[in-house]
């Protein structure tokens, strides 16, 4: 099973430190991990540093991976408007680093990723014609089609309606379990984090201020300290922890 460990990971933009010595225990495949933190806490930077897109100190250790390229990354959507159909754009993500010859197997994987996310009907549409939410689902399909062992998602639900947020996170949790895939998702909705994720790491100003099982990490004290809100966490009628935010301080 794949395990990802971050060891004193740092990054700078110019002289400005963006990440300072982020160290985590090993996150194992089959789990879904929430990456939390307010705006500009360094969440996207941490993803880029993990992927090696950004240089810096420390080490990213991956053990137990069976493929050469175990990670796939879904960045935040920048609204690019290429004249490509959804099908082509997902196939493009599938074909990386390989010859241009498309195999039947690749097409099957594209069909599977689109079906998995329920967007097979969008296959013939140009990506420039999609809504923000649809584009986000296509982005998720582009990451999933790579059959990653570690899936990094930068705010995958930010443009989705509530219904689709719940469903996408359910799908990700199921896929994490089924494929023994490690999913790390930057989330702003702590209620979703409580409900769908196993572990959480919280960044504030580039430092890791908490890391561990989500129900232990997301506490009223942390919410006050990191997000400057007063909040309570109470079990709902089904016994799940539920976040109730009272006010900003």
């Amino acid at each position: 099973m794949v395990t990802l460990t971050l060891d004193r990971l740092s990054a700078h933009y110019g002289r400005q430190p963006i990440l300072s010595e982020v160290t985590t225990p090993g996150f194992e495949g089959g789990q879904i991990v929430a990456l939390l933190g307010p705006n500009a806490a360094g969440k996207s930077t941490l993803f880029r540093r993990i992927l090696g897109l950004l240089k810096g100190g420390g080490e990213v250790r991956i053990s137990g991976a069976v493929t050469d390229r175990p990670m796939a990354y879904m960045p935040q959507d920048t609204g690019a408007n290429a004249v490509l159909t959804v099908y082509e754009s997902v196939l493009l993500a599938r074909m990386q680093g390989r010859a241009l010859k498309v195999q039947d197997d690749d097409l099957c994987e594209v069909d599977r990723a689109l079906a998995e996310l329920g967007i097979a009907s969008l296959g013939e549409r140009d990506i420039g014609d999609l809504s923000g939410g649809q584009r986000q689902l296509v982005g998720a399909a582009q990451a999933l089609v790579q059959n990653p062992e570690i899936l990094l998602l930068d705010e995958p639900t930010s443009a989705l309606d509530l219904h689709r947020q719940i469903q996408l996170l359910s799908i990700l949790r199921r896929l994490a379990r089924e494929r023994q895939m490690l999913v790390i998702a930057a989330l702003h909705d702590l209620g979703h984090a409580l409900r769908f994720t196993d572990q959480a790491m919280v960044l504030q100003k580039g430092r890791l201020v908490a890391c561990g099982p989500t129900v232990e990490v997301v506490t009223p004290e942390l919410l006050h300290r990191v997000y400057q809100v007063t909040a309570r966490i109470e079990p709902c009628s089904k016994g799940r922890p539920q976040l109730i935010v009272e006010e900003a301080v």
């Binding site: 992927l51 897109l53 390229r69 796939a72 990354y73 879904m74 960045p75 935040q76 920048t78 609204g79 690019a80 408007n81 290429a82 004249v83 490509l84 159909t85 099908y87 082509e88 754009s89 196939l91 493009l92 993500a93 074909m95 990386q96 680093g97 390989r98 241009l100 039947d104 097409l107 099957c108 594209v110 069909d111 599977r112 689109l114 079906a115 998995e116 996310l117 329920g118 967007i119 097979a120 009907s121 296959g123 013939e124 140009d126 990506i127 420039g128 014609d129 689902l137 982005g139 582009q142 990451a143 689709r164 469903q167 996408l168 359910s170 799908i171 199921r174």
Partner: protein, 364 residues
Amino acid sequence: MSTGTSAPNPERLATADDSPAGRGFYRALVVRRQLILAALTLTLFLSLCADLALGPARFGLGEVIAALLAPEAVSQQVRVILWEIRMPVALMALVVGASLSVAGAQMQTILSNPLASPFTLGISAGASFGAALALAFGVVIVPAAIDYVIPINAFIMAMLTAFAIHALSLKRGVTIETIVLLGIAMVFIFNALMALIQFFASQQAVSAVVFWTMGSLTKATWPKLWIALGVLAAALPLLARHGWALTAMRLGDAKAESLGVKPRALRLEVLVLVSLLAAIAVAFVGTIGFIGLVGPHIARLLLGEDQRFFLPGSALCGALILSIGSVLSKILIPGTIIPIGIITSLVGIPFFLFLVLNHKKASW
């Protein structure tokens, strides 16, 4: 308790189906694009034949094809006119059209900008300045045979422009905005320098400069053609090798990076490669601006932006536009060959606007 209807799977976002409809759609799309490429190639061949057939001495299509297939079978006069006089010009139209269009296509791709073309980055302006130096003041940057002095001047200035943009953007960070701004700065600098040359040059020299900037295929010769063709033939496989990465670039730098592309390195490499293509083309035939902008747009409308189709499609569209332009330049005013740059703009732009305005989807 069963309600008699199957409960929807809560973990499917919409009606997901596992049927191979997507595969079928994709395969049909590929076949359609291959057919479009084949149709463009056939049209290009017909246009080439028409270009060869037309001129002060007109030939039938059959005669042209016979002369192409078996040059010995036709009279020496026909053979000389077709092979020695018209063929280099007609083929130069194809090679220059393809070069400018491919250069424009890849500039638009790497800069994510629908207005990018060899003109936008000052490459054509640099070439014009180099040519004007030779035409107005006899400045020869590299001594060469008289026939090559102007093209060499133009080529060197065009490449210097490209390298200046390259070097300055390395200093400032290879962002799209930096490259486009530097390109626009180059255009303005060379426009001012051109005005200065025209201010000081003789009336006769000014006429020569103006004629050169209009673009003309009539200066084409076999050796020039081989040089332009050689550069195009070298550049196309290099660009095709980056086909997947270039397509991924159109998803935005962040997404391309997430797929393993190095956008900045690729942008610089392709910038140099397409500058070379554009510089050679402009050096030999003068400024023909419309092709580099519009050839790629037409290819994009017809074929999308998957480089496996977009790259050859851009080359074919550019070649076709210039070849048809060459035909029109001979027949619009009988007995006069209108400079090709004027034709491509005057006839091509309305056609392009018609295509864009009538297309159901936005192409950018």
